[in-house]
């Protein structure tokens, strides 16, 4: 089973241009609001017509601009779970579920509806009207209404955005279970990073109508292929770099030199150890590298190699992966202080500045700590020691 999508749609002030192939599981479309997620889904469902491109599900061509094919929505057999569920308020739960079964004989209709009511735990509610149901029940009815038609692809448009946090966790569990039972594609869109990660094994990151990155969730979160993907997966700490040695870079926005493990380093390099540089550098005073007057101590050869990759690569580390240590001699460890603290019930987000870094242009480093760790740390006198553990750093392309 494959879903192939390659479409373009021009709207005033917005251009959607996405292409992807979905395999046999739950694919997540992650992006902020206005990134084109819903539009993509509507194009697949046939509720919106793209200007160019092709949409194919298995052997069925839904849309092909060149051949002039545009299957109407009703013939696509696509399940669509709307953000607000779009239940029919004038029909009972039972009537809502049997809505699409018009073509079936009566007996089969009632059998399938009964099956769905059972599966979705809606048995006692079949004569109720949508207004008389809770948010969670409404969602189950909406799912039942789509799944009873045995769609080949199920499209879910932010199914939890209409619910409060408490209910959301419960329902997410249920939905994951339901999606597990359902043998077809599902395409799940959300702006919630954590939700996307929990529900979808494969992710598509969308930004301004384009795909920033796609792949297995573990890969995307561990090594985002570009800065946009890094931001979309929730990485707050990104810095431009300057190449110093084959395994060392200068993080221009943070104001420090970092040892980078060669496996993570996308530029060709020789794998031998160099002495670690543990203190923020003098060269920070002139943050923007210039060809002539920079890096007196460095070999010219190394520097030229660095210039080649410069600007194209950034370095990043996730906020929870910055660690606070007591041992100054560890690799990538720098004295720092905090400029602001934002407290949540169980955690704290700190904004950090490395000592000796003068107004780094890109601004700030953010660190995430649980309250217990914070209790210990905030009693310590400045400077604190923050560590960029080499294995946690990733290099990523600019985008």
């Amino acid at each position: 089973m494959t879903l192939y999508v390659d479409i373009e749609k021009n709207l005033p002030g917005f251009k959607l241009s996405v292409s992807f192939t979905a395999a046999n599981n739950t694919l997540g479309l992650l992006g902020s609001s206005g990134s084109g997620k819903t539009m993509t889904l509507r194009c697949i469902a046939g509720l919106l017509t793209p200007d160019r491109g092709k949409i194919v599900l298995n052997d069925r061509v839904f849309f092909d601009a060149e051949k002039g094919i545009n299957l109407p929505s009703r013939e696509r057999k696509v399940g669509y779970l709307f953000q607000n569920y779009a239940l029919f308020p004038h029909l009972s739960v039972e009537q809502n579920i049997s809505f699409g079964l018009r073509h079936c004989p009566r007996q089969e209709q009632s059998r399938r509806v009964a099956e769905m009511l059972e599966m979705m735990n809606l048995k006692g509610l079949k004569n109720r009207y949508p207004r008389q149901l809770s948010g969670g029940q409404q969602q189950r009815v909406a799912l039942a209404r789509s799944l009873v038609l045995e769609p080949e692809v199920l499209l879910l448009d932010e199914p939890f955005s209409a619910l409060d946090d408490c209910l959301r966790d419960q329902l997410e569990e249920q939905l994951r279970e339901t999606l597990g039972k359902y043998h077809g594609h599902s395409l799940y869109i959300t702006h919630n990073i954590e939700e996307a990660y929990r529900i979808c094994s494969e992710l598509l990151l969308l930004e301004e109508g384009r795909i920033a990155a796609s792949g297995l969730r573990e890969e995307l979160f561990k090594r985002p292929p570009n800065t946009l993907a890094a931001r979309l997966t929730g990485c707050k700490n990104l810095s431009r770099i300057r190449h110093i040695a084959h395994d060392t870079v200068e993080a221009l926005d943070w104001g420090c030199r970092l040892l980078v493990p060669s496996i993570n380093y996308p530029l060709p390099s020789i794998n031998y150890p160099l002495p670690t540089i543990n203190s923020p550098l003098h060269s920070i005073n002139s943050p923007l590298p210039t060809k002539g007057g920079e890096g007196k101590g460095e070999g010219g050869e190394d520097k030229d190699k660095g210039e080649g990759g410069e600007g194209n690569y950034w370095i990043g580390i996730r906020e929870h992966q910055l660690s606070f240590v007591n041992d100054k001699t560890l690799t990538n460890t720098f004295p720092c202080r905090t400029t602001s603290v934002s407290e949540s019930p169980h955690s704290v987000t700190l904004t950090l500045r490395l000592d000796g870094a003068h107004n780094p242009p890109g601004g700030n480093l953010q660190a995430f700590l649980y309250k217990d760790a914070w209790e210990v740390l905030h009693k310590q006198p400045y400077p604190w020691l923050v560590r960029f553990e080499p294995a946690k750093l990733f290099l990523t392309k600019e985008k």
């Binding site: 929505s73 013939e75 696509v78 709307f82 029919f88 308020p89 207004r131 789509s146």
Partner: protein, 227 residues
């Protein structure tokens, strides 16, 4: 006192409302979910025109169309279906004047329906025609009902266009508003007063039934509780 104006009025208004109903909701369906644009604004303007023009202008235009000099009027006359100074003429005049009310209320009611619901019906295999009957019309029914009532009230009160096209033929085309006008003109003030009281009674009934319908509209689930 001759009671025929009451029955003629009710019959004419009922027929005119029925005549305005189908074109009204079709036009409403057509324009409710089209994206805004110049074409939409122009079409809306044309459809609403009978409401904006004075009824005498409508009446005169209808005379041009249905009179013996108009092509349509001549043809219909030849077929034995004269319009001018006939009851069908009164119905046509009232229907034209009433149409914008029907169209506008229906459109408002259609626009209130969440478009996602229509899309949901589409993904579940419904044709446009079928979802119109299964989803759109039932969901906008309370709004459309008030449209029907308003149209009926407007048709009942129609004077200018009716007089110009259908004239004042007692027992044939003389409706209540026309009867009042000619009663006053003929010095029969007491007759005019009776008709006026009857008209007030009818109008009150209409207002009450309108309120009743809008109450029902607020509570959708309640409509089915008895079932």
């Amino acid at each position: 006192m001759e009671l025929s104006p009451l029955f003629i009025s009710l019959q004419t208004a009922a027929a005119a409302t029925a005549a305005a109903f189908f074109p009204g909701i079709l036009a409403a369906r057509w324009l409710a979910h089209t994206p805004p644009g110049k074409g939409k604004a122009l079409a809306d303007g044309l459809l609403i025109m009978p409401l904006l023009l004075p009824p005498t202008v409508i009446g005169f235009l209808l005379l041009l169309i249905f009179g013996n000099r108009g092509l349509l009027g001549r043809t219909l006359s030849e077929w034995g279906l004269p319009i001018v100074f006939t009851w069908p003429g009164a119905v046509i005049a009232a229907a034209v004047v009433t149409f914008p009310l029907m169209y506008r209320t229906a459109r408002g009611a259609f626009e209130q329906v969440d478009p996602d619901m229509l899309d949901a019906a589409r993904t579940m295999g419904d044709t446009e025609w079928r979802l119109f009957w299964r989803i759109l019309l039932p969901l906008s029914w309370p709004g459309i009902t008030s449209g029907i009532i308003l149209s009926f009230a407007r048709a009942l009160g129609e004077f200018g266009a009716t007089l110009m096209l259908a004239g004042n033929i007692p027992g044939k085309t003389q409706t209540m508003p026309i009867a009042i006008y000619f009663a006053v003109e003929g010095g029969k003030r007491d007759v005019a007063l009776v008709w006026t009281l009857i008209m007030i009674a009818v109008a009150t009934t209409i207002v009450l039934s309108l309120n009743y319908w809008s109450d029902r509209r607020q509570n959708f689930a309640g409509r089915h509780k008895g079932k």
